[in-house]
Symmetry: C2
Subunit: 291 residues, 2 copies
Amino acid sequence: MPIDPTSRIRRFNRAVTAEVGALDTSFLGRGRPLGAARVLNAIGHGRGEVGLLRDYLGLDSGLLSRFLRGLEEEGLVVTLPHPGDARRRVAALTEAGRREFSAYEALSNDRAAELLARFPKGEELLRAMDLVATALGRDRIAIEETDPRGEAALHCLTAYYAELGRRLSTGFDVSLSRDPEAADMMRPRGVFLVAVSDGLPIGCVGLKGKGGEMAEIKRLWVCPSARGLGLARRLMEAAESAARTLGITTLRLDSNSALTEALALYRRTGWVEIDRFNDDPYPDFFFEKRL
Amino acid sequence: MPIDPTSRIRRFNRAVTAEVGALDTSFLGRGRPLGAARVLNAIGHGRGEVGLLRDYLGLDSGLLSRFLRGLEEEGLVVTLPHPGDARRRVAALTEAGRREFSAYEALSNDRAAELLARFPKGEELLRAMDLVATALGRDRIAIEETDPRGEAALHCLTAYYAELGRRLSTGFDVSLSRDPEAADMMRPRGVFLVAVSDGLPIGCVGLKGKGGEMAEIKRLWVCPSARGLGLARRLMEAAESAARTLGITTLRLDSNSALTEALALYRRTGWVEIDRFNDDPYPDFFFEKRL
DNA sequence: AAAAACCTCTGACTTACGTCAGAGAAATGC
DNA sequence: GCATTTCTCTGACGTAAGTCAGAGGTTTTT
C-alpha cells in the first residue's frame, strides 16, 4: 500500500489525467477533433498570430496551417496578413467562430463549476489547485509591468489590503494610508509590476517615483500559494532594476513589524533601517537602499 | 485578467496537462508507443486478466489484443488461459518484462522526485496534491476490510496517534491506552475498515468484538485532506453494517472532548451518551448505540 | 445434446496527429 | 539591387490509435 511521496504524486497524476481526459472528451462533443478545437480556443483567447499559436500549442507549422485552413472552410476563422509584416499572418474569429468559441468556453466553465459544486470544500480545493499549478508552472512565472489600476493589479491589491487587515493588530483601512497616485507608479515616474503565473496574477510590487532620484517601494505582496519560492525577492530585484532604468539612485520603503518575512527579506538584501520619514499611521519600520 | 474560480481551475488544468504530457514523453523514451507502455504497466501492477485490462485502460478488445501480441513478440509478456475459465486469458510479465516494467516505474518515480526537489515546500505541495486527488477521485473512494496489522492500517493508525498527540491537551501515548488486540478487529469477532482512494489509504475505523452481542468502535480517523466529504459517516455506516452481519446488537465507543467533529457526528447519528465503561485515561465521553 | 451467451482474437478500415522537404512571398543585410 | 533570411503554406508520407464485423474457441442454459 503506497504512502511515500512518489506514490502520492503518482496518485495525483492518475486522478488528474482522468479529469483532463474527461474535459477533452466533452470537447469532442462539438464534432471537431481536439487539435482544431485547441487552435480555435487559442485564437479566441487572443493568440491570433500564427507564430504565437505555433509556440503556444507546440505544433508543427504544416499541421497548424492545415488546422487553420480547416477552420476557415468551416467559416469560423479568417486569416489576414499582419499589418506590420506581410510575411506573417494573423487569424481572427468570425461571428460564427465567436459563437463556437463561447460554446467551448461554456463547456469548460461548466466542468469547472460542476467540480466545485461536487466538492463541499470549494475554496480549500481552489487554494490547493493554485498551489499545485504554481508549483508545476514555477518556471513560467513572468514579471510584467502593468497599469496599477488594471484588473491584475486590483486583484493583487485587494488581497494585499485584506491580508494587512488580518495581520496588523490595528486592522487596516486603505483610506487612512497614503494611497499612491496611479501616475506615480507608471513610467516615466515609476512602475507597477505583477508576477503572472499562467495568466493568474500571484504577486505585485509598486515603485512610486516623484520624478527625482528618490523613489519608494510600495505594495509588495505575494499570494499565499506562491510563498516560499523566492518570488518576493524576484519582484524586489525587478523593481530595483526598473528603478535604475528610471535614473533613480535611492529607494525607501516603510513596513510593519507584523510583516516579519518582509522585514527579514529587506535585511537580507542590503536595506538599512532609517528614521521615520512619513506620518502614515500603519508603518513602524523604515528602510533605505542606495542603488 | 482571470481570477474567478473557473479560471483558477482552468489554469490548474493547463499546468497539469503540461506535467502529464512531460511524463508521457519520458515514457516514449523507451522506444515503445504509449498504448503498449500503458498495457505493460497495467500488467505489472497486477491487472493481468485481459478483461480487467480492457476495463481499466478503456480499450477496444481488438486494440488490446494487438498490444498484447506486440508485447509477446518483444518477449515481455506471456498470456495463458485463465485457470477457471478457458475462454479468458491472463497476461503475465516474463523476466524481461519485469525488467522493462521496473524501468518505467523508475522513470515515473524520478519525475515525481524531481518535481518535489524542485519545489521548496515539498510537504505542502503533497498535501495540496492529496486534496485535489481526493476531490477529483471522490466517487472512487472505496471502503475495504483489511488486516489491522497491514500496511494500510498502520499508515492510518500512525497518523491517528500523531493527531491525538497534537490535539489532546495531555498528549497521547498508545501504550497507556487499551490497544485492541488485532484478532478482536478481524472476523469473526470484528473488522477493521480502511477507506482507499486510488490506492491511498485515507481513513479507517475499527470494530472490536469479543464474540458476544456487544462490540466497540475504535480508531475512527479521516486524513485531513479528505475531511468535509462525509467520509467519517460512511466509515461509521460501513462499520455498523459489518457489525450487523456479525450478529452484534449493541455498539459502544469512547472519545475525547477535544475531538469536537467526532462528537458532533456521534450525536447526529443516533448515539447516546452513557456512563464511563472503562478506565482508559484518555477518553472523557462515552456513547452507545443499539442496532 | 443443441442453442445461446461469452470471451478473445484477426483482418480490413478510418481518423487524428505528426514529420519533412521544399515552394512562394516578404523582409533584411550588405 | 541582389543574396540571405524569415514566415507561411502545400504535398507526400508515416505512425499511433481506434472502430467494426465476424471467426473460433469455451461455458452456460435449457
